[in-house]
């Protein structure tokens, strides 16, 4: 047949499209931001994976990167940003502080952002190496690919 054809299912095509167009919203609060910058820039180059676009409007973003320490005072801001994002959305906890509060086990710091919002991928390290981040984001892509894509989104809580 001229031109050829492929067969696929709707869901896997949708997943393929989504995983290579993850627009990110970087929520950067602390030193991990340095590693984020090196990953996002030309040396490690997130753009190779279709994540080059940073959308500083939560409404246009698919992936929330929480990079750095989240204090109790900041928690409502993060929650609002998450709530403003449209479905489907994914959250990445970047670095020990976002995971668990890290070394800041004290009165001011939220002990892990999963106490406020649901998290899809955790990246350990203080700060994580760029290779770790790429690995984690590829894992997120796999997750996006495998996700059941219903027409109507059952809201994550």
């Amino acid at each position: 047949m001229k031109g050829g054809f492929i067969t696929t299912t709707f869901n896997s095509m949708l997943g393929w499209g989504r995983k290579y167009s993850l627009y990110q919203y970087p929520f950067i609060t602390a030193c991990c931001g340095m590693e984020y910058m090196s990953v996002a820039c030309a040396h490690y180059d997130l753009d190779r994976f279709g994540m080059g676009w940073t959308r500083f409007s939560p409404r246009q973003a698919d992936m929330l990167l929480v990079v750095g320490t989240i204090t109790q005072k900041e928690a409502p801001v993060l929650k609002t940003v998450y709530d403003q994002m449209t479905e489907p959305k994914w959250v990445v906890a970047f670095g020990a502080c976002a995971l668990s509060g890290g070394i800041y086990d004290n009165y001011a710091v939220v002990q892990g952002i999963d106490k406020i919002i649901p998290v899809d991928v955790y990246i350990p390290g203080c700060p994580p190496r760029p290779e770790t981040i790429l690995d984690a984001l590829i894992k997120l892509q796999e997750k996006v690919q495998k996700e059941g894509h219903e027409w109507r989104w059952s809201k994550k809580k």
Binding site: K73, P76, N106, Y107, A108, V110, Q111, D114, K115, P118
Partner: protein, 159 residues
Amino acid sequence: MEQEKVIKDLKNKFSDKIKEISTQFGEKIVVFEKDSLLDVFRFLKDKPYDFAMLLDLTCVDYKGQQNRFEMVYHLFSLSSNLRLRLKTRLPEKEPSIESLTGEWKNANWLEREVYDMFGIQFSGHPYLKRLFMYDGFEGHPLRKDYPLRKRQPKIPMRK
């Protein structure tokens, strides 16, 4: 201006208010009576001493000692390149001290921080509100008797 001269003049002028003068790591430490705060600082800020810069203002909690809180002030003189550390003690019950906001603008936030973390009242401060912690936060977290594991989240936590 030599450091010795500053110390000597300070001693002569406030002989009854200066409790102790010592040296640590080559820096002079002056311990003064709390009620003479404004007089001492105005004296040092004016020429010829010219300590025009308030480097830092903070507090230390010595729990269990008689006068529990110690206020620490760091001054710097730009014209003579001198530093001076001044200290005074406050009681545990209702600790309060005069505000330095009239002399140095930057004392405003420094004093708000000390109020936030230690609960020291600064009389004459124009806007004594918490600086770091949020409204509704109870207690003062850098006091030694603030429970180590006490958490006061601003929004409800999941699970």
